[in-house]
């Protein structure tokens, strides 16, 4: 079991011409990347634009990716550089010079102008969070601990096994069952995947 084995297997497929494998990588990391870019830009819509650009750059540079580092580490660097370039480019823009860049108010105004988030979209985000949190609260103690240690603390299965004093296989099973329970609740709300979220967003 090698670290980054799953990402690497998807990357190899993309390098052999399988675009569907890149979709899986984007689906996995889009939230993380948007969150990362949000350190540089304040509004979510701009962060999404930059994340999208970073993914496209990564796809085009993927033939040069040799797997010396983890895929996410490599993607992380691309996203940071793209975000920095976007900020520099925006700051050099003549239109932007008309706005006081040091004013938080002007930033917020920009954010509001560029933010394509609809009220329905915001409601949907809150709805998803609420469903997930409710589902987690309803989990048995062992499943809840396993999924929280994994997703919130970022521990590996081995570390969770040590923390919970159980075999690694049990940890894997607990995390899977916790995800399945949360996913069932999500599917009840979003029939047919997250398509409705796309429409509303």
């Amino acid at each position: 079991m090698g670290a980054d084995a799953s990402d690497l297997s998807l990357v190899r497929r993309v390098q052999r011409g399988d675009k569907g494998a890149f979709d899986a990588l984007v689906l996995k990391y889009q939230h993380k990347l948007v969150k990362l870019v949000m350190r540089y830009v304040r509004n979510p819509a701009e962060a999404e634009d930059i994340a999208q650009e970073a993914f496209i750059k990564a796809y085009r540079a993927l033939p040069q990716f040799r797997g010396d580092s983890a895929f996410y580490t490599w993607l992380y660097r691309i996203a940071i550089n793209t975000a920095k370039n976007a900020v520099v480019s925006r700051d050099r823009s003549p239109i932007e010079y008309n706005i006081d860049r040091n004013s938080d108010e002007s930033y917020d105004m920009q954010g509001r102008m560029k933010d394509a988030e609809t009220p329905e979209g915001l409601v949907l985000t809150e709805e998803i969070r609420s469903i997930v949190n409710t589902a987690i609260d309803a989990l048995p103690e062992d499943l809840r601990t396993a999924i929280v240690l994994r997703e919130l603390e970022g521990l590996s299965y081995e570390e969770i096994a040590a923390a919970m004093d159980c075999p690694v296989g049990t940890v894997r099973s607990r995390i899977f069952r916790a995800r399945e329970a949360i996913d069932r609740r999500l599917r009840e709300v979003f029939e047919g995947g997250l398509g409705r979220a796309e429409e509303l967003g």
């Binding site: 297997s9 998807l10 011409g17 569907g20 494998a21 979709d23 997930v132 899977f176």
Partner: protein, 227 residues
């Protein structure tokens, strides 16, 4: 949906699946829409648990990236064509090399064949009966057999050459001898002997000029056959 498959997907999402299983599942994940939707929901669950203010869960990045990349050629496609050409040449080059090796081997074996035959045939054709049976006699030691072996082929090859001089040279000498001592023999017997010598000599002459030349050496003609 297969529960084991879903369990594998969950482990793969956490980078906790064996590489060999990842290969198979990655292939299926890239093609199976249902599996991909589940993968996406796992990512949403993870993002929801790590909730931070301002981060949206209904991001559209994946759809937009997929739409942009949809018009681009797949990676590896242009690079595959020269590889295919190379792959096409590889078996041809391999076959040519194999054919070359086979041809050289055949030529080498054919070049080696006469020597092998000469070594193998002496006991059957040219070796005298006494020597052919020599290894079976009690007096022959392995040392003598080993000593004879290298010299055997040299002395017993090409039997016709050995036989022709044996037929001509003694006949001439005998004819000279009979003529020189004719006074001690009866005329009829002498004639019979000479005619038989001449017959054998003409037979030997018909088999090759080389042997006639070698048999009729000049000093002897000057001494005996001038008469």
């Amino acid at each position: 949906m297969n529960e084991e498959l879903d369990s594998q997907l969950s482990a793969m999402f956490d980078d906790e699946l064996a590489s060999s299983e990842c290969e198979l599942l990655a292939r299926r994940l890239s093609r199976d829409g249902e599996l991909k939707a589940r993968w996406e929901r796992y990512a949403v669950i993870a993002a929801a648990i790590r909730a931070e203010p301002g981060v949206r869960l209904n991001v559209r990045v994946a759809r937009r990236v997929s739409a942009v990349l949809g018009s681009e050629p797949a990676l590896g496609v242009p690079a595959r064509q020269p590889r295919r050409q190379l792959r096409w040449w590889r078996p041809v080059a391999g076959a040519a090399m194999a054919a070359g090796v086979a041809a050289v081997s055949i030529l080498w074996l054919r070049a080696q064949a006469p020597l092998g035959a000469a070594v193998a045939t002496p006991p059957l054709t040219a070796v005298p009966a006494s020597r052919a049976t020599a290894p079976m006699t009690a007096s022959t030691t392995p040392a003598t057999v080993a000593a004879r072996a290298p010299s055997g082929p040299d002395s017993y090859v090409v039997p016709p050459r050995a036989r022709a001089p044996a037929a001509i040279v003694p006949a001439t000498e005998l004819a000279n001898y009979v003529v020189a001592h004719s006074r001690f023999s009866a005329p009829v017997a002498r004639g019979t002997l000479l005619s038989s010598f001449m017959t054998s000599e003409s037979a030997a002459a018909g088999s090759g000029a080389v042997f006639v030349e070698s048999a009729l050496d000049r000093p002897r003609d000057a001494q005996g056959n001038a008469q």
